[in-house]
């Protein structure tokens, strides 16, 4: 039966190939969208790990998460240096990373922090940041670059860097009297870290005239910390990342920080905030997936149309098969076989195209969009999608099959053309 279906399809090669192509491309699109969706979700969840609380001035939790982790948007309110001191002294705090945002290099956000950032910040399954080249900033005028920033701006170790106030690409107030120097470049992480420039808090303070460099000019850099406790390097911070001795402390501490009397603060647990944010974004991704599913439906409807149209030309073929003893059910299953053959070939071609595309274009995608898509084996979700396509094709094929079944009974052997 399959052999016959195959031979008959070969006879209608042109329309068969077009049908297969339509199914292949729509399968490719569906799998592609699913892969991007899965990958972004994974990347998203991997952006930050090990941090128990993020603290900022009173603001929405999404806003705080977006600005502190993704460096998207700006925080209108800041928290004072005193509040930061208060946070560092809370019982149970293991480590803390202060962050001051707001400046940029050619549109890439500048994060002013301490070297603790490189010791304590974790992403993925608890991976720590590693240097590809050079060292972490140690001087006030040094900057450490994310991999993407270095690659896009073509910056090397030792290159000068000019910070701009504000986050825009075109700066209206360049801090060019205080040029920075690239001290090192981080390894690629697939997180927003790749897209940021890291400098010393004191460097930022100096830039903004908040930190008196004369005061410490003849001091060694080693006792910066001592010094900083007397005169703060900056007056205000955007956010503080906090790691705790024990994770269960987070909930209580969150409440404690949120009700801090001296300054209105917001503390969020990054895991929960990420899930919340993902739920909003997922809506968009689901819409994308739905569109891809509709494209697949269009491809399958195209197949339905060609099969139905072919029935008219094939009444002769059907009559011959009937004369040879083919029952209406054989005719029925012949058409179902044809539809399934077309779909299986189409879907396989689509999968093949996907893998081919990922193998050939994966690197290109990574450098241009920062999206990491691997030609990894099909996930269970993807198998479900493929099975759904086949099931939909099977159901749709019942229509021309039923039509052929009815024709076979009515026409018999005599066909009036």
């Amino acid at each position: 039966m399959l052999k016959l279906a195959w031979a008959s399809l070969r006879n209608r090669r042109a329309s068969a190939i077009l049908t297969i192509l339509a199914i292949a491309i729509s399968t490719l699109l569906l799998l592609g969208v699913e892969r991007v969706r899965e990958q972004t979700q994974a990347n998203f969840a991997n952006t930050i790990a090990g941090t128990d609380l993020i603290v900022g001035a009173r603001t929405g939790s999404t806003q705080l998460l977006l600005s502190s982790v993704f460096h998207i948007g700006s925080l209108n309110n800041t928290l004072s240096w005193d509040s930061y001191q208060y946070l560092t002294k809370l019982p149970g705090v293991k480590w803390h990373i202060p962050m001051a945002l707001g400046d940029s290099v050619a549109g890439y956000p500048v994060v002013a922090t301490t070297s603790d950032f490189f010791s304590y910040f974790r992403y993925g399954d608890g991976l720590s940041l590693e240097l590809a080249k050079g060292t972490v900033f140690s001087e006030m005028n040094q900057a450490t670059l994310g991999a993407e920033v270095a690659a896009r701006l073509g910056l090397q170790q030792g290159d000068p860097l000019t910070l701009a106030h504000g986050s825009g690409g075109i700066s209206f107030s360049d801090h060019d009297q205080h040029p920075f120097v690239v001290s090192g470049i981080l390894n690629r992480t697939g997180t927003p870290v790749d897209q940021a420039v890291y400098i010393h808090l004191e460097g930022l303070g100096l830039l903004h005239g908040e930190f008196d460099s004369e005061h410490s000019a003849d001091h060694d850099h080693d006792d910066h910390h001592d010094h900083a406790s007397h005169a703060p390097p900056v007056y205000t911070l955007s956010a503080v990342l906090i790691g705790l001795e024990a994770r269960p402390l987070a909930l209580r501490m969150q409440r404690q920080i949120n009700t801090y009397k001296n300054e209105p603060l917001t503390a969020i647990m990054p895991g929960m905030a990420l899930t919340e944010l993902w739920r909003t974004l997922a809506l968009f991704e689901q819409a994308l997936l739905a569109i891809a599913a509709l494209v697949v439906a269009t491809g399958l409807l195209g197949m339905l149309t060609t099969l139905l149209a072919s029935l008219r030309e094939r009444r002769r073929e059907m009559a011959v098969l009937r004369a040879l003893g083919a029952g209406p059910f054989s005719i029925f299953s012949l058409l179902v076989s044809e539809a399934m053959l077309l779909t299986v070939i189409g879907v396989s071609t689509g999968v093949l195209l996907l893998f081919l595309g990922l193998m050939l274009g994966g690197d290109l995608l990574l450098t241009h969009t920062g999206m990491l898509l691997r030609a990894s084996p099909l996930t269970s979700n993807e198998w479900v999608l493929l099975a759904a396509i086949l099931a939909a094709a099977l159901i749709l094929s019942l229509i021309p099959a039923w039509r052929a079944f009815r024709n076979a009974l009515a026409d018999g052997l005599t066909i009036k053309l």
Binding site: L4, R316, R322, A323, L324, G325, A326, G327, F329, L413
Partner: protein, 232 residues
């Protein structure tokens, strides 16, 4: 010898037709007989053949083919009987154009397990049948769509004969052929049928063929349905 086809008070009316197309009190065709059925266009010849072939169903108790009362067989059983025991040749367009001559012949066993069992080597059997019917060896591997109408009819006859069915039904198989090819076609068909003791029911509206057959039946003689109702 036995009976191949036995009609007893057959009455058949197409659904929606005002009156019966066929009313045949009696008709018997013995096994191995070669019969010419003649009738005017539209008189119901093809309809009678499709009843005998079991494509459409005669009422119970009125039509027996090879000992089976077709009125009592299910659609599936009738299809099986046709697949295994009846070879059918159309006026033209008998073949699947995308298969070659040999494949078209062996296609006869696709839906017919009994025929398949009767043939040991399908390709060889197909080749010998095609040769018997006068198709050049070189043409057996050509696509059906590349053969002449006369060659196509020979391939169709070979397919009908494939696996030695008991009955061959030919519905005006020569009407697309010229007189010379027509007579030659009928001669080789006769020879092949004789070799297998196959019954042949040959339908035509051509007056000239009668002398070649041992028995000729005029449909108008056996069909008592009112003539003027045929096209109503």
């Amino acid at each position: 010898m036995g009976t191949c086809i036995a009609v007893k008070h057959l009455e058949f009316r197409w659904p929606g037709a005002p009156s019966p197309l066929l009313t045949i009190p009696s008709l018997t065709i013995a096994r191995g007989e070669r019969v010419l059925l003649r009738g005017a266009s539209g008189s119901g010849k093809s309809t009678l053949l499709s009843l005998i072939a079991g494509v459409h169903q005669a009422p119970a108790g009125q039509l027996e083919v090879l000992g089976h009362d077709l009125g009592r067989l299910s659609q599936h059983r009738r299809d099986q009987l046709r697949a295994n025991e009846i070879g059918y040749i159309f006026q033209q367009f008998n073949l699947l154009p995308f298969l070659n001559a040999e494949e078209n012949v062996t296609l006869a066993s696709q839906f017919a397990p009994a025929r398949r069992k009767r043939v040991q080597n399908p390709e060889q059997h197909a080749q010998s049948l095609l040769k018997q019917l006068g198709l050049a060896a070189a043409d057996t591997q050509r696509l059906a769509s590349q053969l002449s109408v006369g060659q196509q009819q020979r391939v169709a006859a070979a397919r009908a004969l494939f696996g030695a069915p008991s009955l061959i039904i030919a519905d005006e198989p020569t009407s697309a052929l010229d007189a010379e090819h027509r007579d030659e076609f009928i001669q080789v068909l006769f020879k092949a049928c004789a070799a297998n003791q196959t019954t042949l029911l040959f339908v035509t509206h051509d007056q000239g063929l009668a002398p070649m057959f041992e028995r000729t039946i005029e449909l108008s003689d056996i069909n008592h349905a009112r003539k003027d109702d045929g096209d109503a």
